[in-house]
Structure formats: structure tokens, C-alpha cells
Amino acid sequence: MNCKMNLTPEEQGILNGEQGETMQKVMRSLVMYGDAFGAKRFVPVTGKGHLVTSFGISVLKPVFSIMDELIAAGLKVDETFTVDPRPLDYENVKCNPLEKLIFNKMMYGMQDPYEEQLKKLGLKSDKAFTCTCYMDEVGNEPKKGDVLSWAESSAVVYANSVLGARCNRNSGIIELFGSILGKVPEFDLLTGEGRRAKWIVEVKTSKKPEAQILGSAIGMKVMEDVPFIKGLDKFIGTTLGDAAKAYLKDMGAATASNGAVGLYHVENLTPEAVESGGSLVQDDAKVYVIDDAELERVRGSYPNVWKKPGAQPSRCFIGCPHLSFAQLGEWTGRFESELKKQGRQKVSLSTVLTAAPEVLERFQRENKAAYDKLLSFGVKLSSICPLMYMNNPLCGKKPVVTNSNKLRTYTSARYFTDDEIAQIAVKGGF
């Protein structure tokens, strides 16, 4: 094939088929991908891989065929990789027999064979299923400047913005190919120019904005562009500690799902903003001012798409993206306080907190008192992907509440702030 990218002799050899037909197709896919975006060359991937496709959904048979072909050709990822959360957890997220039938027969019937394929391609372990692979406990935290081949939108935006790694907003499968080749085409967020901001976002609220609504507002306005956010350090500080990281994780996931943001800078806080300051902003950058009224307007725009809009909720999901160790502790305190306020012992609504398997293990091990308290409140802990669960047409029709703007965007779940969610979960309704 004719390509515009400049290839090394080794890369050209792969494209010519010298490492077999399957590797040739992997290379051809990546070269076409690079050509589409004006990439001049490949650059080495320096961080571990992470895959967005964690679910053995039967309709993706053609994807499983690619995996089979890769495995048959003896191809795999050089280093181990992590993957998004599993779609099911019957122990902690109960389903009725009909829902199970749909999950097992129509939807995720390929889960076991798919996980076998992942192992053959280099899956890190049975516990490597989370959208927050960058948590300390999980062990897939890129370093500043690392080049990545990821696709999970919430992880890409976190790695780029909070960790200073470099990753484009790739699609599933393409990210696997990059990890197999060990190289990705260099364009957009992998370049210095592509990381400069086209928007200045001025936060002028009277109090710390809800991370999920702020991210939603920014995403809807800037779509795929890079924003430089001013005025947020006043509320979340200038140090990337646990609280700031958790805030940015949730805000970033909302920018990526309500828009298509792959990178944001926060003045005086995120690594490149601290390093380069205002020089990261393009001369012709547009300005978006966010005040209390704007946040109210954005929140007011969320439709109620429950089948029965006036219904009471039947389930609550907290943790999309998965919660951090510190957030699990915070939620314990929030529920304890709300239970006391309402004079109750347990939550009245089926409530699930989700976090990575290794984060939950650490929580049980190192904060046993809070872990036991949460369970005594009737709250379930799980590593499920709530979004995958809600994709079941029967589950998707249920009135679900959440504090996640990503879950709200992709499903019928209704969004409420953290404090509102605690109140609703304890009371069992509105």
C-alpha cells in the first residue's frame, strides 16, 4: 500500500508482510490510522497497555475473530495489560432470573472465552478489570511523558491531564494493535502543539463546583478541544494529593463523556500547566466563563428519561469511573452522617459502590473499620461496570440514580450530587 507516513526499514518490512499476514494487517491498520491524521512517523509506546473491551458480548463476534487471528499468529502484548471492568457481579448486584437469562444468553455469553483470549494476549491478572487502571493499587500508572496506547476515555483523559502522559483518544482494537506493535502513530495529543489549549475556562463560582457538573459543562462546550481551566485551584488547591486527583478523575470522565475531551490543563495544578503556564494556551483561544448560574443551567438541561419519570428509584450506582481508596472512606463518612441525620441504621435503596478489585482489597485490609461499617449500612461493594449492567434492556428500564455524569450520559440513570445521592439512598427515594 502507498502510505504517507515515514516508516523505518523494519516498519516497512512489517507492512510488506515480512512478519506474517496478520502482523501486516495490524501494521496496515495503524498506518492508515496515522495517515488519516497526518502522522509523520511512529513513536514507541512506553507505558503498559489498557483495553476498553472487557465484555464478552456475543454481538462482537467479529472482534473475537480478530483476537483469534492474533492469537493463532502468536502475537501478544510485550508487557502485561489491564482492561475495563467486568459487566457482571451477581453476588453484589442482584438480578432476577429473566435479567440473568438476557445477560447469560443474549449479551455476555462469551465472557469466559473472551477472558481466555485476553489472557493469551497478555492480560495482567484476574484482578486487572477496572477503568481506573492508573490507581496505585492496580499498578498501571504511567509516568509523565509516557506514550500510551489506550482507548478508555476516562483513563485517557486522566493519564494525559493529571499524569502528563501522552495518549490519543483511540478506539477499541486500535489500542490493542498499538500495544502489540509497541508503537503508535504520532499525532494530535502526542505532539506539543496538539496539547495546547483552544479554550480558556474561567471558573467563577461561589463555592467548589460539583466535579461531575463542571466536567459536563466543559465537555459540552469544548467538545474535543483542549481547555485550560483557571480558577479551580482556588477550590481544590495546588497539590495533586488524593482529594485533588479524585476530583479531577470525576471531572475528567464527565468532560470525556459529555464531550470528547482527551486532555485538560488546570492552572497551577496539573503537571504541564505548572510547568508551562499560560504558554499552553493558543493565541486565539476562546473563553468560557462558568459561574453558579451556568452550572445550574447545565444541570437543568439533563433530561429525565426514566420509563416512568415520576417513579421512585430502585437502585443506586456510585463509582463510574471506579472510586479511589480515599473516596471509599469518604463515602463511609457521608453515609454514616446521613443515616444519623435520618435516624436509620441501613440504606433503604439497593446501593452499590464500585472500585477496582485491588482497591477494594486494600480498603478491606487497611481501613477495616470503614469497610465493616459500609457493609453494616447495607451498601454493596463491587468491581462491576455499571454501564455494562445497564445495557441489559431490562436493567436499563429500571429507575436508577447515580452520581456519575458518564453513566447518566450513556444510560437512563438520573444524576444527583454526592450529598443528594446519600440522602436518596438512605431514605429509599425522593
Binding site: S171, I173, Y410
Partner: protein, 150 residues
């Protein structure tokens, strides 16, 4: 009478008088295609309630005219899957520069299936303003798109 527009072929191919289906909004690939794929139907009926231009319209073998695709980063895999199943659009014509998810979808389809989704991008806002549902569209391998309004 035909009006022509020049774009960039991302996946080159020829389409002769295909039926246009037009979205003035970003097309959410997962939301649009997933339901039909799950039901294993012989045609994709767009299931994205948030896209009034495409909702409940047949997209199979049509020439879908759009600004870009949006939504989940599984989008590329979903496009590839419907192409492998033989129920994809015949072509996708983008008024803007193609996005990374759509690019992945049409490229995976081209390389890993026997089918093709012809893709041309950069056709401009004038193209999207001009083209209407049902108009006949001819696409050449060089990215020239001819829209017949008869």
C-alpha cells in the same frame, strides 16, 4: 441537477447513486447501531433517541452524511462489527475532518473484512447544508462527491 463537493478519501471507493441519510448532529455510533446489532437484524434501524435526524431511520447500505461521530470509544469496534455483519452504511461522508473513532471503524472494516465503508471527510458545511435525505449520491475514488437533487 448535480452539485459536486471535493473531500479527502479516507477509505476510497465508488458509490453509484446511493441514497443519502443526513444527520446535522454528531452521530453516536454505539447508540445508533448497538440495538440492531444486538437483535441480529438484517438492517440497522438507528436507535439513538438523542439524534432526531437519524432516529428510527434505516442506515444499512445508505450514504450517511454527517459532521463527525461522537460517543463511546467502543465506536470504532461497533462500526467494524456492523460492517463484518454486512449491515453497515455503504458510505460515510463527513463535513468535518474525520474523528479518531470513525476513522478506526472504517479502517478496521477495510483491512479486516471483505466489505468496505467508503469514507470521505472534509466536505465542508456547505455540503451538509445542501444534502437532504433521499438525494442520490455518487462518490468517486478521488473523494469527489456528486449530489443529485432530482
Amino acid at each position: 441537477m448535480a452539485k459536486t463537493f471535493k473531500g479527502r478519501p479516507v477509505v476510497a471507493g465508488k458509490i453509484d447513486k446511493g441514497d443519502a441519510v443526513v444527520s446535522h448532529f454528531g452521530v453516536n455510533t454505539l447508540a445508533s447501531f448497538q440495538k440492531s446489532a444486538l437483535k441480529k437484524t438484517s438492517e440497522v434501524i438507528c436507535s439513538d433517541q438523542n439524534n432526531p435526524d437519524l432516529f428510527e431511520k434505516n442506515l444499512t447500505k445508505k450514504v450517511v452524511c454527517l459532521p463527525k461521530t461522537i460517543g463511546s470509544t467502543t465506536g470504532g469496534m461497533v462500526l467494524y462489527t456492523v460492517c463484518a455483519l454486512g449491515i453497515a452504511p455503504a458510505a460515510m461522508l463527513f463535513s468535518e475532518t474525520i474523528d479518531s473513532l470513525a476513522a478506526a471503524g472504517v479502517i478496521l472494516s477495510e483491512v479486516w473484512t471483505d466489505n468496505t465503508i467508503v469514507a470521505v471527510d472534509g466536505l465542508g458545511q456547505e455540503f451538509l447544508d445542501y444534502v437532504k435525505d433521499g438525494m442520490k449520491i455518487t462518490v468517486n475514488e478521488d473523494g469527489v462527491v456528486s449530489v443529485d437533487n432530482n
